[in-house]
């Protein structure tokens, strides 16, 4: 995953076909379909018939924005992934829809990312970035601008790292890569790439807030969104907890990898399909807890948001 050219574009997150097992692909397709289906319905409610032209052009914007670079050092340059920016500026559901569209076109037209693994790519680059990007930013709504911008920057950085971690886990779960190698490598590279993402996101956000603040997705503090904040903070915490643990405990990782070798030689499909991922069979308490938390959080987040929506609609209907 070390970039071969000087181009640090987060294209390293576009997994091609063949690197993830069918079981892992299927699980993440189900997660992606769930979120995207929700996103379609929510944006339809918010935007009505403006939905398609706005989302389509915004998706084209993200694609074009990913071409804009800025040189960092030597011959390398940083690029924008755009997931966090899309979610903050357009709102979380529109952000998910827009990133899904970008990923679909990149895979279908440019073969940048596979077709069978598209569910996982959508999760890594669209859903995680919306969860962390919007969730954290939403937590800072109502505060002064500098705090909001700083939060957006941190959110953008974390979203890139989360995507990298998710790819590492998916590669490991599919038996493609050794966790002890791919995890720190992806983490290291994307911690640097994420800085570029954070800087560009903050600058773009500041520019938009200066010139056309009416266009920014506005959330009144009383509106819903608590679910997003909870999910976003939880996901961000998971990322923050896993990364240093994994880097600081190579022995634990080596033990996991040797267990992995046995598991992957024995069977590919069963542990990848079930949400347990044979966590208990790995026998490492910390790993099982953290893995379960990180991977299951998105499912939990979906449930939380659905419940929040039901609760709010019930409250609305109960008014005289």
């Amino acid at each position: 995953m070390i970039p071969l050219s000087g181009n640090l574009r987060p294209v390293l997150l576009h997994t091609p076909d063949g690197f993830l097992s069918v079981g892992v692909s299927l699980v993440f397709w189900l997660i992606a379909i769930g979120f995207v289906g929700l996103a379609i319905r929510r944006t339809q409610g918010q935007l009505g018939e403006r939905q398609v032209p706005l989302m389509g052009v915004m998706a084209a914007f993200i694609f074009a924005a990913q071409m804009i670079n800025f040189p960092v050092a030597g011959g390398t340059s940083g690029h924008l992934l755009g997931g966090a920016l899309a979610a903050i500026v357009l709102g979380p559901w529109a952000g998910i829809l827009v990133m899904t569209t970008v990923i679909a076109v990149q895979a279908l037209v440019f073969q940048d990312g596979g077709l069978v693994v598209m569910g996982a790519n959508i999760f890594n680059m669209g859903i995680l970035t919306a969860l962390i990007g919007y969730g954290l930013y939403r937590a800072s709504v109502g505060r002064q601008r500098s705090v909001r911008l700083a939060t957006a920057g941190v959110a953008a950085w974390l979203s890139v790292i989360a995507g990298a971690l998710a790819v590492s886990f998916q590669l490991w779960l599919s038996g493609t890569s050794a966790l002890r190698v791919v995890f720190p490598a992806m983490l290291g590279v994307h911690a640097v790439i994420g800085i570029g993402e954070a800087l560009i996101t903050v600058a773009a956000l500041a520019f938009i807030a200066r010139t056309r603040p009416d266009v920014l997705h506005q959330d009144s503090p009383s509106a819903g969104g608590l679910g997003w904040v909870v999910a976003g903070i939880a996901m961000a915490l998971a990322v923050v907890l896993i990364s240093p643990w994994a880097s600081a405990d190579p022995d634990g990782l080596e033990r996991v990898a040797s267990d992995l070798g046995f598991i992957s030689a024995a069977a590919e499909a069963p542990y990848a399909i079930a949400p347990d991922y044979t966590i208990t069979a790995l026998g490492d308490g910390l790993l099982s807890t953290v893995l379960a938390g990180a991977i299951g959080l998105s499912i939990v987040a979906a449930i939380v948001m659905a419940l929040a929506r039901v609760a709010r609609s019930r409250a609305l209907h109960s008014k005289p």
């Binding site: 091609p16 939905q51 074009a64 069978v116 056309r212």
Partner: protein, 270 residues
């Protein structure tokens, strides 16, 4: 960036071009799934898959060089699979000294790595054949027929329509930046700092966003003025002919045979 730079072959005529796009999409997905499902070391099955791919390429009147050169896009990911060489238990084949560690490659690891690379390479080539033989509007219609939500298909169609327009916009912004010497110069006394460059880049992204947003408003107004009521109409319904069904059945049968080949223990030195 221009549309024609990507669809050299889409306007051609061939047996594959004439197929119903639904058949092409379904066969491509089935082929990729079949390829990914093949177990490690199933060289005969991999070879047969590649032969099927070759047949599709020839029937589509595509040049093999074109397909192969486009298929190299996923090469950086080879590094991810490379770790498999050293981490799958088996008989040691060779060892590499990397600093304080000695990495031992096993036969099972090498087989796993080669299998992953082959699967990925074969799968992406089939996807290339699909995109090279299907016009994008037909591809969108096919997805719609295959029950992909209409909103998503319409959004993707819009994105495709405008991505070249907005990419040109982004290229103009980049050229304007270069023309104003906003990039660091080798050996200059005072080069702009990284933070300044990031702010310029962020402003460009923000500028592009605002232009895109306002463009989308104009697009929407134009559509309203032309009678847009929320759904995109088409005057090109696709119907499945007997030939299409035949292709579908033959492809499914061929893939089933490939799967069998991959799992049955053939006698002989394999």
């Amino acid at each position: 960036m221009h549309v024609s730079s990507f669809d050299h072959y889409q306007g051609r005529v061939s047996p594959v071009h004439r197929l119903d796009p639904r058949v092409k999409v379904v066969v491509t997905v089935l082929f990729i799934v079949s390829t990914v499902l093949l177990p490690d070391g199933a060289w005969t099955a991999f070879g047969c898959s590649w032969l099927l791919l070759l047949a599709a390429t020839r029937l589509a009147h595509l040049s093999l060089g074109f397909v192969i050169s486009r298929s190299l896009v996923a090469l950086p990911f080879a590094l991810a699979a490379a770790t498999a060489v050293f981490s799958v238990p088996g008989m040691p084949v060779f060892s590499v000294k990397a600093g304080p560690w000695t990495l031992v490659a096993t036969d099972a690891g090498v087989i796993r790595f080669a299998s992953i690379m082959l699967r990925s390479w074969i799968a992406v080539q089939m996807a290339i054949v699909l995109t090279a033989t299907t016009q994008v509007p037909d591809l969108m219609h096919a997805l719609r027929h295959l029950r992909v939500p209409g909103v998503l298909v319409a959004t993707v169609s819009f994105m495709y329509r405008y991505l070249f327009v907005l990419s040109d916009e982004a290229l103009r912004l980049l050229r304007a930046r270069d023309a104003r010497s906003a990039m660091p110069v080798e050996g200059a006394v005072a080069s702009p700092s990284v933070l300044w460059r990031a702010r310029v880049t962020g402003n460009m992204a923000g500028q592009l966003f605002i232009r895109s947003y306002e463009r989308s408003e104009r697009v929407y107004d134009a559509m309203l003025a032309r009678g847009y009521a929320g759904t995109l109409m088409t005057i090109n319904p696709h119907t499945m002919t007997r030939l299409d069904w035949l292709w579908l059945a033959a492809s499914a049968a061929a893939l089933a045979i490939v799967q069998l080949l991959g799992r049955v223990q053939l006698p002989g030195p394999i």
